[in-house]
């Protein structure tokens, strides 16, 4: 056997003493937290609520007993409050039988009151303390978190799981924006920009994405309805998707089911004549899924369809950006990051908060029908003959 050098052993011993691996605890001896809710209650006290995994051993008895059974359930905790996070936390610890395990927290839910007062302190807390995942999603709930997390949901084992699954699914579909704690920390550290968090609620015992909570200077200033927020998803979403039915241009009584994907998105910024110019460019790939009534689809139809969709997307994006400029006066899209990258020296000289509301914004969308799904391409000649 080769002799292991003494230096190597020294490094091994020192690092092992510094790793903190001594404080281990089996997972079944920890309190597994599924979700955490934070809200501000009377006299600005902090209130915690949430869901814990509940594991109960039950020894089966009688002749049929074969093995000890264990059941998994979700228990909720509420009415844990204190003047500060630390006080509230201490009150929570007093009623917990095991040490906390935060690695399985699926979602952090802010109540509206707390969101309006500002989430910066709590975001800093969970960013710095050990245990939370940096990919933890943050949401604002319509209901009080204690109520929101305290009831059963019909489509998942708990509200925490349901919120994460719903957002994750919508995000991958390209129909929702799904910021994680790391993104929010990054936005806060960047300064001068706002951000949005999903706004969720409970409808018929299901978790529903109702819209987005708009944050300026880490305080909630508005809530956007989901129908009004498409422009937000086109800019901030991953592989944004638009699904809609449009009248067939040549047959007004017929409808086309379309599916539009925004690709090759670009944000180009410049600074001219003391004004910031922001241009959003994208290519819209339109897929026609089916026609309500099967009718011939002409090249003119496709051209008109492309124009309609281009205009709609442009309108939705522009109106939303203008709303952020004029109403919120906050760059919730993070255009500042692009501007700073393109014009670092100018960014240092200007005050983005003041400049952004007056920035020129333009949208350039190029749409194309890439898939008609319904027709045999060889039938083109047939349509030509018909003409």
């Amino acid at each position: 056997m080769k002799r292991i050098p003494d230096k190597f052993l020294c490094i091994l011993t020192l690092t092992s003493l510094l790793t903190g691996c001594w404080d281990f605890q089996d997972i079944n001896r920890r309190s597994v937290t599924i979700s955490v809710g934070v809200d501000s209650v009377n006299n600005n006290a902090i209130e915690y609520s949430g869901e814990n995994a509940r594991m109960i051993p039950s020894q089966s008895t009688g002749n049929n007993s074969q093995s000890p059974q264990s059941s998994l359930g979700i228990s909720t905790f509420s009415d844990v409050s204190g003047k500060t996070f630390e006080d509230a936390r201490e009150n929570y610890t007093l009623q917990t039988p095991f040490p906390d395990f935060l690695g399985a927290v699926r979602v952090l839910v802010f109540g509206k009151n707390f969101a309006q007062q500002g989430i910066e302190a709590y975001v800093n807390r969970i960013n710095r303390i050990f245990g939370y995942r940096k990919s933890l999603p943050l949401v604002v709930s319509e209901q009080h978190p204690t109520e929101f997390l305290g009831t059963n949901v019909k489509n998942n084992i708990s509200a925490g799981f349901s919120i994460e699954s719903t957002l994750d699914h919508l995000h991958s579909e390209g129909t929702a924006v799904y910021p994680k704690i790391a993104d929010i920390v990054s936005d806060m550290a960047f300064g001068n920009i706002g951000f949005v968090l999903p706004y969720v609620g409970k409808r018929n015992d299901s978790i529903v994405l109702l819209g987005y909570a708009v944050f300026k200077e880490e305080k909630m200033i508005d809530i956007l309805d989901i129908q009004e927020s498409k422009g937000l998803v086109y800019i901030l979403g991953v592989n944004p998707l638009r699904v809609e039915a449009i009248h067939q241009p040549s047959k007004e009584n017929n409808m086309l089911s379309t599916r539009t994907l925004l690709k090759k998105r670009k944000i180009i910024t410049s600074y001219k004549n003391g004004k910031v110019n922001i241009e959003f460019k994208a290519k819209a790939e339109i897929q026609i899924q089916f026609l309500y009534n099967v009718e011939p689809l002409t090249d003119d139809d496709k051209k008109t369809l492309e124009d309609i969709i281009t205009q709609r997307i442009k309108r939705e994006i522009a109106s939303f950006v203008i709303k952020s400029q004029k109403e919120y006066k906050s760059d919730i899209f993070g255009f500042a990051k692009y501007f700073r990258a393109d014009n670092p020296n100018i960014y240092k000289k200007i005050n983005w908060k003041d400049t952004y509301p007056d920035a020129n914004f333009s949208v350039d969308i190029k749409s194309k029908v890439v898939n008609i799904n319904l027709f045999d391409p060889n039938a083109k000649d047939f349509f030509k003959e018909q003409k």
């Binding site: 691996c21 089996d26 997972i27 399985a104």
Partner: protein, 476 residues
């Protein structure tokens, strides 16, 4: 006359020493003749028909003498003469018959050996579906014949040595002269010649003597139970060592990649071969790490799993009274006990261990709430994966290291696990077999050798492994 006296004295001495040597005295035309042999080692038919019968039937006028016997009377095919009376006992104890006449200065050694031996049987350890079934047995000549039968190359060299002061065990160093690197051949011979021990009972002794250091953890010498495996090694440029009384041939130099090769891949489809190799690599790593990973996740880092699994894991362990390290350690010990018991038990009651194992571990332990169901799966997998190697010598150190890494993980978590793996990797890579790096062809890396090892296809392996530094580098 001096010789005559010496021979008679020797016979007298043999009689007195009670060595179990049979002495047959014949008288032909008034000339005394002695035949000395060990009846247990001698083929009685051969000595009766080829030695005694022709001597008794000698009726020629010519005076009988050792020269006459040697050249015109004895029917034995393997025959020699010698003058040294001190060597006489060695010849007899080897199983040869010594024929002497007190008046003659030299004597005849006739090979009438008959050793009780097994037939060429099917392999017990290195089995496979599509492999030749002729395995080595304990008979030296029989084993040599199997190799000679497969390799009819005139360059095949069989260097014979006798090792063991008392057992005088025959050892053959077999290689192809114009392929094998003389550096390795000389090194093997040097180490064999340096052995000074009273006896070699099995090739395992030679294996130990050939190690660089008796405390080396990994096997540096390969074993071959089948002749095709031994011959494959010889053709690659390796050296095969046959030991009298052992049914395992040794092959050197050996690298860790050789232990991942069952031999069957060479006769099978290229994709099957790649898949099998990959499977075996996974099996090696799994055997070593599965229970440690379990402890690491349960006790230290459950967050690396998706939350649903975390909950399932926590739920499955809710009734287990001990922590995951103790649980894993006990279960690994039990599985090792079962393995040990199943090897030692007679074949007739061997299956009982399977039943006991299944009931004790699989059902009763979980039922009693002593271990979690996942732990049972982990242990079963760990045990199962350890059986996927044709050369069991590689899995023995892994079994020991498994406990080392488990303890390290139990104390230090992922840090201990990583450190354990790092130290094992360092140990593997710093080992050498007869001077050849143990990690070849991966470390030092040689792309062509690595591809040839992984594909295991004779049509694509146009050259012999580069790391063996053979004289003749090409196969085809």
């Amino acid at each position: 006359m001096r010789k005559k006296k010496a021979f008679l004295e020797k016979i007298q001495e043999l009689k007195q020493n009670n060595l179990g040597i049979s002495i047959r005295e014949l008288s032909i035309n008034g000339n005394k003749l002695f035949i000395l042999y060990v009846s247990q080692l001698t083929d009685k038919n051969s000595i009766s028909n080829n030695v005694i019968k022709p001597i008794l039937q000698y009726s020629r006028k010519e005076k009988i003498s050792i020269d006459v016997l040697f050249s015109t009377v004895l029917y034995v095919d393997n025959i020699a003469t010698d003058q040294d009376e001190n060597k006489m006992l060695d010849y007899i104890l080897e199983g040869k018959s010594v024929i002497l006449m007190p008046d003659e200065p030299h004597y005849i050694i006739a090979n009438t050996i008959k050793v009780e031996k097994r037939n060429v049987d099917i392999p017990q350890m290195q089995t496979g579906l599509k492999l030749p079934q002729d395995s080595f047995n304990e008979n030296f000549d029989s084993n040599l014949s199997l190799i000679r039968y497969r390799i009819k190359d005139p360059a095949l060299r069989i260097d014979n040595l006798t090792i063991g002061k008392r057992t005088k065990t025959k050892v053959a160093v077999i290689y192809i002269n114009d392929i094998s690197n003389p550096k390795y051949v000389n090194e093997v011979k040097k180490r064999l010649e340096a052995i000074s021990v009273d006896g070699i009972i099995e090739s395992g002794y030679i294996q130990k003597f050939l190690l660089n250091n008796p405390f080396d953890l990994f096997p540096e010498i390969g074993i071959a139970e089948r002749s095709d495996r031994a011959c494959g090694g010889i053709l690659s440029g390796k050296i095969c060592i046959l030991v009298e009384g052992s049914n395992f041939a040794l092959t050197v130099p050996e690298t860790i990649s050789d232990f991942l090769d069952s031999g069957e891949e060479h006769y099978d489809n290229i994709y099957t071969s790649m898949f099998s190799k990959l499977l075996r690599i996974i099996a090696l790593v799994s055997t070593l790490t599965l229970s440690s990973i379990y402890v690491m996740i349960i006790s230290y880092h459950p967050e690396i799993l998706p939350p649903q699994y975390i909950l399932a894991l926590a739920s499955s362990r809710i009734s287990v009274p001990v922590n995951s390290f103790v649980e894993a350690f006990i279960m690994e010990m039990v599985s090792e006990l079962l393995r040990e018991a199943s090897i030692r038990l007679p074949k007739q009651i061997g299956p009982a261990i399977g039943i006991v194992g299944t009931i004790v571990i699989g059902q009763a332990a979980v039922g009693a709430g002593v271990v979690s169901p996942l732990m049972v799966i982990i242990i079963a997998l760990s045990l199962l994966t350890s059986f996927s190697f044709s050369d069991f010598t590689i899995i023995n150190p892994i079994r020991v290291l498994k406990f080392a890494i488990l303890i390290s993980t139990g104390i230090f978590g992922i840090f201990g696990f990583t450190m354990g793996l790092t130290i094992i990797t360092i140990l593997v890579l710093s080992t050498s077999s007869m001077g050849l790096p143990y990690g070849a062809p991966i470390a030092p890396f040689n792309f062509r050798d690595f591809v040839n090892f992984f594909l295991g296809d004779i049509t694509l392996s146009k050259e012999r492994p580069n790391y063996l530094r053979t004289k003749d580098k090409t196969r085809q």
